[in-house]
């Protein structure tokens, strides 16, 4: 579990080896490379993930997914956790 600050101003995407299975509560993520499973615990966080590729920044993706401003820090923490386990990566990096 990482506590690193998450760069909301960077461009992010799902790691190419990650598969997404939508669920009522959100989604399951599976990373075929690290063979690790993660749970996306809200449908809105899934919407954020789905918005990442087209968004210039993670902040924009959150806005597009309808994340209310007061909840942005919580979403940044969730994204930081996903970044720490390589489920998402910066678009500049492969």
């Amino acid at each position: 579990m990482s506590t690193d600050a998450f760069d909301l101003e960077a461009a992010w995407r799902l790691h190419p080896q990650v598969a997404v299975r939508p669920e009522r509560f959100g989604a399951l993520l599976y990373h075929f490379g690290t063979r690790r499973l993660s749970f996306v615990k809200t449908p809105r966080l899934l919407a954020v993930l789905e918005s990442l590729p087209a968004a210039a920044t993670a902040r924009d993706a959150c806005t597009a997914a309808g994340v209310p401003a007061p909840e942005l820090p919580a979403y940044a923490r969730a994204l930081a956790t996903l970044a720490a386990s390589s489920m998402i990566c910066e678009r500049s990096a492969a």
Binding site: A19, F25, L28, F32, R35, L37, P43, R44, R77
Partner: protein, 399 residues
């Protein structure tokens, strides 16, 4: 972390998902070992074993259901002549494979080929950090075989193999040695709970951790939890205090299940018994059909009351413990786990109970060449019909 959660994840999972998160698939009951605690009472191949084509159809279905990985076991899965083919087939269909093996077929050549394959995890079973402790339950020579396989994998450059340990009263004081062993081979340690299932029903009394060892294990897991895997199998220990990392609930028929070598679908890997058989994927229209429509699974996904445990203040931590552990020790399913850490297990075990008879047994009738000796230390029970007044008399003999 979850600002607009639908339900807490645990509750979502207790109601069941449209597809399992992962599942265990025992590919064969054939095994070259005869471990005394084998969950599936393996030994002999079942003649009705799924064919290669039938296995491929299962993988196709898992791909459609987005089951991301399967835990493949047995028996010894690598005994199947089509094992390596099925491994490649699964990987090509985006179904990751974690397979458990005793290591007897992981030659240097095979290890090199595995090192070149993505999406495959290898778990080497080892139930002692020393040959003495391991071979006691897994059979003579099995320690050297497992360590040889780890050596081959490490030499071939296969990274992060798993050393899979079933925790017994004999190996729980070796946890640090297991970690050192894992470090030596660049492997990760995986600890799981001993269940009284399969041949384990006959040996559980002698092997399961003592109550004071449970506490030591809990503390060790709290300290080292980030370095070891547990398959989330110790949730009954969470009643000691803070919950352990992972999912603290019984996933049987809700988020996990087991497919056995003949295509029978059971609620979980530790519940190979008619009582927990949801159906057969050949006879009942495929795996998805069984998963989604079996009456047994519907029952397991219905809200549970907690039964005798409902009034216990720790119920939210342990959720009543392991269904299979209760069933195979003859305890009521809505009561405490036999290893309840709040001490409700022992009185339950002391009451009158009937241990259920096994509903399948693929053990070899004749002792294997490398059969462990544990069972031979016990004496056969006296028949209820024995008339000799001394039938039951056992003079004390120094050991």
């Amino acid at each position: 972390m979850s600002p607009t959660a639908v339900l807490p994840l645990v509750q979502e999972f207790e109601l069941g998902l449209d597809a399992p998160i992962c599942l265990t698939w025992e590919l064969t009951y054939a095994c070259n070992l005869a471990c005394v605690h084998c969950l599936s009472s393996s030994g002999r191949r079942d003649p009705r074993e799924l064919t290669t084509a039938q296995c491929e159809a299962v993988i196709d279905e898992l791909e459609r259901m987005q089951v991301f990985y399967v835990n493949v076991g047995g028996g010894e899965p690598t005994i199947r002549p089509d094992f390596w083919h099925l491994l490649d087939y699964a990987v090509a269909h985006r179904v990751g494979v974690k397979f458990s093996t005793n290591g007897s077929r992981l030659t240097p050549d095979r290890a090199r080929r595995l090192a070149a394959t993505d999406y495959v995890d290898v778990q080497i079973s080892l139930d002692g950090a020393t040959a003495e402790v391991n071979d006691y339950v897994r059979g003579p020579g099995s320690f050297d075989t497992a360590v040889g396989a780890l050596e081959n994998l490490a030499t071939a450059g296969f990274r992060d193999a798993k050393i899979s340990v079933v925790c017994t009263r004999h190996n729980l004081d070796q946890l640090d040695e297991f970690l050192a062993l894992a470090d030596r081979y660049g492997a990760t340690l995986r600890l799981t709970r001993l269940r009284p299932s399969g041949r384990g029903a006959d040996t559980w009394d002698e092997l399961h951790p003592r109550p004071e060892q449970q506490r030591v294990l809990y503390d060790w897991l709290v300290t080292h939890g980030d370095r070891v895997l547990t398959g989330d199998s110790f949730f009954h220990l969470s009643a000691f205090g803070a919950p352990l990392p992972g999912l603290n609930l019984c996933g049987a028929g809700r988020v996990v299940c087991l497919i056995d070598p003949v295509g029978d679908v059971y609620a979980c890997p530790f519940a190979i018994h008619d009582r927990f058989r949801a159906g057969n994927l050949l006879a009942d229209g495929g795996f998805a059909q069984v998963w989604r429509h079996s009456p047994l699974f519907a029952q397991l996904r219905a809200p549970q009351t907690g039964g005798a445990c409902a009034s216990c203040s720790f119920y939210d931590s342990c959720r009543g413990g392991c269904m299979a552990a209760k069933f195979f020790t003859g305890l009521p399913l809505d009561g405490p786990d036999p290893e309840c850490v709040q001490g409700h297990g022992e009185p339950a075990l002391a009451r009158e109970r009937t241990v259920p008879a096994a509903s399948q047994d693929h053990s070899r009738p004749v002792a294997a060449r490398k059969q462990p000796v544990l069972l031979q230390l016990g004496r056969p029970p006296v028949s209820a019909c024995a008339e000799n007044p001394l039938a039951d008399f056992r003079p004390e003999v120094p050991r």
